[in-house]
């Protein structure tokens, strides 16, 4: 029964679906981390964008404009974080924590003003982004069931992975970002504007996290609910750390956490206690984080000895 559920095309389909927001957030974690700034605000950006998308699409009646508002609000939010950490020299961790708390309370505040409710936005007529049937691929048996019919943003996510990989490895901007992250004094000495590169990296980080947030409220489900990012921003940070800041490895790790998430969703349908099953992605993250840290520290020890 259990294996039957896991080895089915619908399960693999759901892995892709559930991984989408985590991969988006992990890409956001990656780009800012490579520039030398740990973006602790991912969780808050996702939440803000998720609500931005719902409000935007509900009041304009257009899913596309909703997506635009989601991105706008997420990027604005990360611009605030960037301004405080880069210009006002706020400790990046404290600033991020503050903004996450702000997002958690602020979204409920706004939701309550607009709908009179503090739980979900179900009374707002918000729009969802379309699912896409891939030509040709949809007709391939099994593979078509897994790959086709996803939400638009899932495909955007796959393209983002490719795009970010290209950006980081084959463009001057990617080179500058890495240079700034590795040694910002050296980067400065060769005339790279560290402030601008970091600001740009944080804005892009916000863009990716915002897409992840938009997917949550406009693709994954069709409404906003309080704290719906549910730790995905943090899981993404763990995935990025384990992926060593490399695009492909980070994506795979993030998808691995997506798998844990999908597993939790599937296991809830059979008779296992749902409270415990819900902890699987978090448990997976902590175990993954620990394994990664053990491996890294033993490698460092070896290096130290030789």
């Amino acid at each position: 029964m259990f294996w039957h559920l896991i080895f089915s095309s619908s399960f693999l389909f759901s892995v892709l679906r559930v991984s989408t927001p985590i991969v988006f957030a992990a890409l956001g974690a990656l780009i800012s981390d490579r520039a030398g700034i740990v973006n602790i605000g991912l969780e808050g950006i996702m939440l803000t964008a998720a609500l931005g998308g719902v409000i935007g699409s509900a009041y304009t009646g257009s899913a596309a404009l909703g997506l635009f508002f989601a991105i706008l609000s997420g990027v604005l939010f990360s611009a605030i974080l960037a301004w405080f950490t880069l210009k006002m020299k706020t400790d990046v961790i404290l600033g991020g924590i503050a903004l996450n708390l702000f997002a958690s309370g602020g979204t409920i505040f706004l939701l309550s003003i607009l709908t009179g409710e503090k739980g979900t936005s179900s009374s707002l007529p918000s729009k969802v982004l379309p699912d896409i049937t891939l030509p040709l691929i949809a007709r391939i048996p099994v593979l078509g069931d897994i790959l086709s019919g996803h939400n638009l943003l899932t495909y955007v996510c796959i393209l983002s992975v490719v795009g970010l990989w290209y950006l980081m490895n084959h463009t001057p901007l990617g080179f500058w970002i890495r240079a700034v992250g590795e040694n910002h004094h050296a980067a400065e000495s060769v005339g790279i504007d560290v402030f601008r590169i970091r600001f740009a990296a944080l804005l892009m980080s916000g863009l990716f996290a915002a897409l992840g947030g938009a997917f949550l409220s406009m693709g994954y489900v069709s409404w906003f609910s309080r704290d719906m990012s549910a730790g995905r921003g943090w899981i993404a940070l763990a995935a990025e750390a384990m992926g060593g800041g490399l695009v492909v490895r980070t994506t795979i790790t993030a998808a691995f956490f997506g798998l844990a998430d999908a597993l939790a969703n599937t296991l809830q349908t059979i008779n296992l206690p749902s409270e415990l099953v819900k902890t699987i992605p978090y448990l997976g993250t902590i175990i993954g984080l620990a394994l990664y840290a053990v491996r890294r520290s033993s490698r460092e020890q070896k290096k130290g000895r030789s």
């Binding site: 006002m88 924590i97 503050a98 943090w234 409270e275 978090y282 993250t285």
Partner: protein, 347 residues
């Protein structure tokens, strides 16, 4: 103008600016802004019950603030107090429901002790991962929070839930395990005394005890601590055990002092507030008192405002975030400080 005074001025300006923002939000949202602002600012002073609410809320905030401050001052960004509050509170409730002890003093002590031990055990997980293998305690402590919430809810639902009730709540806590009220006409309980003892204890520990001193130094420079014969490993573990202990007592005291059943179906949010309190207090134990009181005051004000006017209580989280951002911003009022240093140099 000396440095302490300058910091006070900065704090005051940050608070004023955030209150200004609150007024702007209120005037945008409320139909009767002046009355709403009045409720927010002065509501808690209106009667003894409201003042009592402020103090009741201050108690868990002090515990959470102390716990987080110990970690923050050692440069350990751990947000695990949230999960510990929940799980230790539940542990205390288990003792209060399932272990029959007739003597109130012993029963209360046993329940709080169980919660405290549980807090230490839980804190050890991210602590050990960080100390031994340098795994990010920020991420692992947050994951622990979600795990503890799930496991706790499972235990609540399956072991001590009162099945006769529709809402999720435990069986009644034994009266012998409840913390007695100490001030009439309020719900202020003995936890107030306990938490004040903790403030004094942490203060003395960090000022008078060698390890407390080393913990503070550890935040500035971990090499210094290593020169004095302690490893980073033991410092990180000690900080986590202490923080877990305090948060564990805090969660237990909150449940035994404020409730007759365990009623948290999800994380109570008190742990994250601890991060706020610690930041406002610059991780020092005595200022934790003031910042917890301040936070409890504006929270209670926001609650009263939400109940009697048309602005949701969550407005207060916007106020808090702005205060934190401004206070932790090194550059905020930078010009003012520069002038101070210049004046000193010229004098």
């Amino acid at each position: 103008m000396n440095e302490g005074f300058f910091k006070t001025v900065r704090l005051a300006v940050a608070i004023l600016l955030s209150l200004l923002l609150a007024f702007i939000i209120i005037s945008l949202v409320s139909k009767n802004p002046l009355r709403t602002m009045g409720l927010f600012l002065f509501g808690p002073l209106k009667n003894v019950r409201y003042l009592g609410n402020v103090i009741e809320l201050t108690i868990p905030l002090i515990f959470a603030g102390l716990s987080t401050a110990i970690l923050f001052q050692a440069n350990l960004f751990n947000l695990g107090a949230e999960g510990i509050f929940y799980f230790s509170g539940l542990t205390a409730a288990f003792v209060a429901v399932l272990v029959p002890i007739a003597n109130p003093f012993l029963h209360v002590s046993a329940a709080i002790a169980a919660g405290a031990v549980m807090g230490m055990v839980v804190a050890l997980v991210p602590g050990y991962l960080r100390a031994k293998w340098n795994a990010s305690e920020l991420v692992s402590s947050l994951m622990m929070n979600s795990i503890l919430a799930g496991v706790g809810l499972y235990l609540l639902n399956n072991v001590i839930r009162d099945k006769d009730l529709t809402e999720i709540a435990s069986l009644k806590l034994a009266p012998s395990a409840l913390l007695p009220r100490i001030i009439p006409r309020t719900r202020i309980h003995l936890g107030l005394v306990i938490c004040l003892c903790f403030v004094a204890g942490v203060y003395l520990f960090s000022r008078r005890h060698r390890i407390g001193y080393l913990l503070r130094m550890f935040g500035f420079n971990h090499r210094f601590v290593e020169y004095s014969g302690f490893s980073s490993f033991s410092m990180i573990i000690i900080a986590h055990l202490l923080a877990g202990f305090i948060a564990g007592v805090g969660g237990s005291v909150e449940v035994l002092g404020m409730y007759d059943r365990f009623r948290w179906a999800s994380l109570p949010g008190l742990g994250f507030d601890g991060a706020l309190v610690a930041m406002l207090a610059r991780n020092k134990p005595l200022p934790v008192l003031g910042s917890a009181l301040f936070l409890a005051y504006i929270r209670t004000g926001a609650d009263i405002m939400a109940r009697q006017a048309d602005v949701p209580a969550e407005m207060v989280s916007i106020v808090q975030a702005v205060i934190i951002l401004l206070i932790s911003a090194d550059r905020f009022l930078h010009g003012l400080e520069e002038r101070r240093i210049l004046k000193k140099a010229l004098a």
